[in-house]
Amino acid sequence: MEGVRTLSISDLLHLSRPLSGAASLGSAKRPRPDGHDENPIEPPFASSVQNPDPGIFSPLGHPVLLIGTIDLFPEDSDRSLGCLNHCLSFFDGSLRICCYVLDFELKMIGRKIHVLAWNFLPFKHASGGVLEVIQWGLAEVETASDCDPSLSIPLGCSLQETDLKARGRAFGILRAVSPIFRVPCVKGNEDSQKNSSGILMDRGNSIGFIAEMLSCGCDGCGGSRFLEHGRHPHDDNNRHSFTNSVFIYFIKPAYLWRPVLFRLIGKVIVVSRLKRKLVFVGGKESYPTFVSTALTMVSLSQLPTVTPVKTDEGVYNGVVTGIYMNGMVVELDEKVWLLITDSLLAPQHSLRVGAIVSVMNYHFVHVNYSWLKTFLLGTCLRTYISIKSFSMADIRYQFKYEFNSLLEKFIESLPFSAKFWVLLLVSCFEKKFAGIFSHKDILGSENKEGLVQTYAARCLPPSAFQVQLGLFMNFCKHGQCNFRSDLNLSCLKLVIPISNLTRWCEEMWVSVPSERHDDDEIVRRNQYLDHFLPSGTSYEHMIRRIISSDDLGFVLMGVFKISPCSGRLQLTDATGSIDVVVPDLPVDVDFQTIYEVKDYKLVMEGSPHQVDHLQCHFDGSLSCRAIFQHFSHKEKSQLAVYVHFYLRGTTWSSFPHQIPSYMDKNHFMFCKDDVFHLFLVTHKFPVHQSLQDDLSLSNSSGLFAEALILPCNLISIETYEHGELTDVFLNNQHKLSDCIGELKDSIEGWSKQSELIQASNIVQHSDSVNVSREFERSCHLRCSLTFRSNNCKWSQLPVYLYNANGIIMKDILHNQSDSRVLLEFGSNNFSKYQMIHVGSYYLLKCSKKNLHSKSKGCEHMICGKAIVISETNLWSLSFLFGEDKYQRTSSGDDCSHASVKNFEDGPNKFCRHEQTFLQFIDQTRQFSDVYLHISTEAMRHLEKIEPSQQGLNNLLLSLDETKSVSSCIQNMMFEVAMPAGIINRLKNELPQGTQISLNGNVENLFIYDCRPRCCVSSSCVANCNQWSTCKVCIYVNDDYNMVRIRGSLSRYAYPIGLGPGANVTFHRVLLMHTSSRWHELMLTPMSFIVVNSVKELANQQTDRSPIQESRWNIQRVEILDTISLVSISQMLQFMNSKPIRLRCRVVTIVNLVLENQTHESVELRCGRYFEMPAASIPLAGFLLDDGSSLCYCWADNGRAETLLRLHETTQKSFLTSSKILKMSRNEDSQRTIGYHLHKMLKKHHRIVIRNHGATSDLSCEDLTFSIDSHRVFSNADEKLLRSIILNACHASTLNVVGNSVDSNAFFRGNLFCGNKEFLEYHQELPHLWVREVGHVDSMKEDTATSRKLAFWVLKRQLTCGIFLAWKPPATNIEVCSLL
């Protein structure tokens, strides 16, 4: 071994880093001849490769040799139990370190060896290290005694007592070895502490391990097989059959043999000098067992034919690809999970990522969770895990040795599949609640259950818990312990960390079949759509997918949070947050409680291309590896993901920090002196500023809502009867006191209603009832208040509905300004602002203090001052009228039986593809915090005052009617037809118009001019926090019509789900007093958008109905063909029903409004495909003729253009008029009609043409022209218009699709002021609202009509027998016809 240096253990420890070395290296440098390399330490390390990665073993550049003795650890060594189970010791004369030998042989024990190839790994948290011996050789020459190696207790190590009883001998195959364990000894006296072999036990504990041998049952071994003096097994090596199980208990000091015996598994050994015992387990079963003595000796059998046996379960050899959960879970080959719940089972030092291990005696379990299918290798006390090849990476984990906490005991008691789930759960909880709860809260301690255990115990089926067997039984009854293959755990779900969920959504998104890319192309080719996009907008096809929790294998858990940057409600954990939509969230939602959401719908929105670039990084966010590993998902996805669920469907466990989230009875009981105001939220003002901004500068949070205070307060019965408050109220009724004289008169009227006083059951027969008080009482109503408390019980409290001002409901409607108040939400009450809904009633607590402090009345009632909602309690309220049968006499009914509302209706019924958000007014009633019940009897008297039920329920409707798109367009029509015109001439003026509320389905949404410029698509905007305002253009439709809403939208006002496929209510948008090509509405800073529902959008193309297409002015004959042809004479039969089709011609025009094509703030892209129309036509009326009769038809925009043939006409040159124009043949005279029209409209802005020809001659001679400008309307202008109109009247036949409408509606709307004579002349004619105009495909029409006629002819033939054949001269087609 020339040039090989010898290293000592101290050298290795000195370096304290992972090293590997060998005695011979192929490319090793030759030692230098100058002798400088004499130094045994420096040169090798200096030349060793400086590996930058400390996790990788550094190979030594020179051949090195380690010399030392391999032995067992002495009994007095301070090694841990883990080392004692697996490690041999390597002793070089000065130091002793752990050692693991790859090709172990019994003969090396106690011998000096040369370690020829090795790894050294220093311990991280302790002194010492482990030497991994890859190749070794004996230092000395083998002697004859070496051929028969054995293991025995050294002399002097134990008592030199010869026990004659120790005559037992076991011969057979070593099958299994248990880890070293301690058995508590219950006997207390000194004598019994000595075991039968005379060894003094540890104080009360016996330490040792059990080994199982398969002994021979052959005749030769037969009866004498356990006797020391029987025939030596080596004598006859042909007849052995190793079938009988024998257990040997290696007790102290022989327990130190465990690392050796462990390596002898599968070999035939002889254990001699044993003592026989009979072990009773549980008083029933007995096992014959050998116990080691001081003389016990283990030697290898010399039987040459016996090969290592195969165990029942086989062997799994695999590469360690991951070690998680303190070594409890080991991933092998990236597919199989080795579950090591007892860490003593595996050699911890060498079980590193990259090592090849061999597992024997395992339990193979096929795990089938709802979200995961995988394979488990379950371990038990008999499992044999050995290293086949060492890893060259120092990726190791801290193994735990002690099983003390309740959780670990709990895990131990479970079958493998449940055990694995709990381990996943632990990992999830640790990630989810890191920083929210302490480690101890999550995992529990020795005395206290943690969150994980509480949750797991609730989720696991009872069958998962099994009776714990003792250690000995576990070992003996292999195959039964901890192993229940029949257990169905498919109900177990993953409590997914939110970062994993977000990632999973992206994976799902990418894995969506690529079919949609084709659809995208179709949309892109749509020239019309392209044309109407504002410039700079890149159009993206949005897809929305809704996945039900039933199809997902995970549950959500977290706390609610209002995101400071988006203002949205989120479910959050330590890993991330996800936006949520919870329709039944109470106003006072608890932001501390942990909610577990099992029943939910996951919504994903985005474009199909959005996360393509991420595809290569996906590694399965739901895989066990992703759950066990630290999984960080920092990159912000452009995919919008949110979850919709109902709070009543969630559960929350008895976690710490739990606070009741519902109204408590105490709120009422302890607030006897308080009154509760009732108000109806009529509008919410959107948030415009960041909540992160410094609010102290502005003195205002900027969170406002408008409400209508009802003139009724609620007081508890006790308060009223106390009487004091009544006086306060009376004093505060300044209105009342001011007009007390007037009241006296009215009191007479009131007092006649004695029934009311009696019925309301509140009359206090006091002598000092003055007039005012009498009036007061007459306005009281006894009701009951039902509310949910935190324990999900319903409670009831009698209250008085107290009319504060003597104002009755209808007065509110007449005099709204008096009752309207502004609610201001404190900046720390953003959640309350978010929770309130427009159109819902709320209760606001007003303490007595407020009443006294102001002489003018309750401070909430002071006109012009905003009510600041800070710490005040708010509850949503619903009225229940006259439902006597629901009235409960006792409180405390379980809410599952609550009949306040039938919860089974409505909200639970998810349509398959439609997700309802339930923010409609009538539906939110079902989720109120409190219910005010007004009995039928009370109602009867109340209705004498006013129609209360109708009044309360329809209050909002009467105040703020939400229009449909069609009715909105009708409104626009009425306005544009006004003679004066309503165009906004000066562009600098603020937009003018009326505020309306509009409900409709979003067809599409385009984002342009996002500031700061970072987003270009709606789905991007929905999930991006980088922008503050953006300009949007939203196309909203009902089934037949579409309007465009545009304007600026703040990020905080951008609701979840806004996008195509959403049903949205736009509160207070401006109906612009200017019109352009499209019906248009404008978002103002006051406008508030509420998303009512969203639906899945998989394929937008197929989703469109034929009529919807028409809104893009695409004339498609095939679409027109789908609607049945009707004669005008039959039209009256189809009044207000399905669309009808006429094949007709324009006779004349009735009305025509032409406007300048305005582009104001939206710059339209004058596209490559599309010629801009010369004019905008908000309204045109025509008289149509189809040969059967005449009818009026009304059209706008594209449809009117087609009826006017404007596309054709405007292309014609206007040469003929050159004389009239008095122009020379200059350039202008060459221009088209379209050019001149555009120019004219630019001059006059707007021209209204009316036909007054009330004669039977339907000429166009009685036209009048009115303009909106003061410029001269020249003859040339008139001629141009006349030629356009005449051209329209000389058109060929057209297909016109529309709806028959009631003519009275047109007259009522004053639409045709100044033109009535025309209409009155033809008053009996039907009216058609045009939705689509197209050209006639004669061929198709021929076919359809001839079919119809053939059928008719056939019918006629049968009845009359008349048939004529007739050949027309112009064609060769034979037509069967009946003339």
Partner: protein, 147 residues
């Protein structure tokens, strides 16, 4: 009612003429008609200064048509737009062209004719067949008295 009834030539030419009224009125199976629409091939054409007269053959007969070129040339009222258009249309009516004609039903020397309001040249030959079918359909469901 000023509906343009769709009638084939054979039907149109056999309308009952009531000379008692001025101008004469027309009835079909007892129902008054005043305007008509016809589709056919121009088989004869005569252009004069003030009018264009042409014959329209729809397979069942030939309808005499007259298009006045100066009749509505009341420049005070429509700035001559109608006259201009009439001239344009007259130029388009050529022999062999399939045209659609709408106008008032009049009589000239005891023969029913159409005083043309507008003429449209049809480019699709199927339009003629469709017109026949329409004539049959409308006669059946609209013009004829119920059986």
């Amino acid at each position: 009612m000023a509906v343009h009834v769709k009638l084939l030539a054979a039907d149109l030419l056999s309308l009952a003429v009531h000379h008692a009224s001025r101008p004469p009125s027309f009835t079909r199976k007892g129902k008054p008609v005043s305007r008509a629409e016809a589709v056919g091939v121009v088989v004869s054409r005569e252009r004069k200064h003030k009018y264009l007269s042409f014959l329209l053959d729809d397979g069942s007969g030939c309808i005499p048509c007259i298009l006045w070129l100066n009749d509505r040339s009341d420049r005070e009222r429509d700035l001559g737009v109608a006259a201009e258009m009439a001239r344009e249309e007259a130029a388009a009516v050529q022999l062999g062209k399939l045209v659609r004609v709408r106008g008032r039903i009049t009589a000239y020397r005891g023969v029913v004719q159409i005083t043309v309001g507008d003429v449209v040249v049809e480019r699709d030959p199927n339009a003629e067949v469709l017109h026949w079918l329409d004539c049959v359909r409308l006669a059946k469901c609209c013009y004829d008295p119920p059986p």
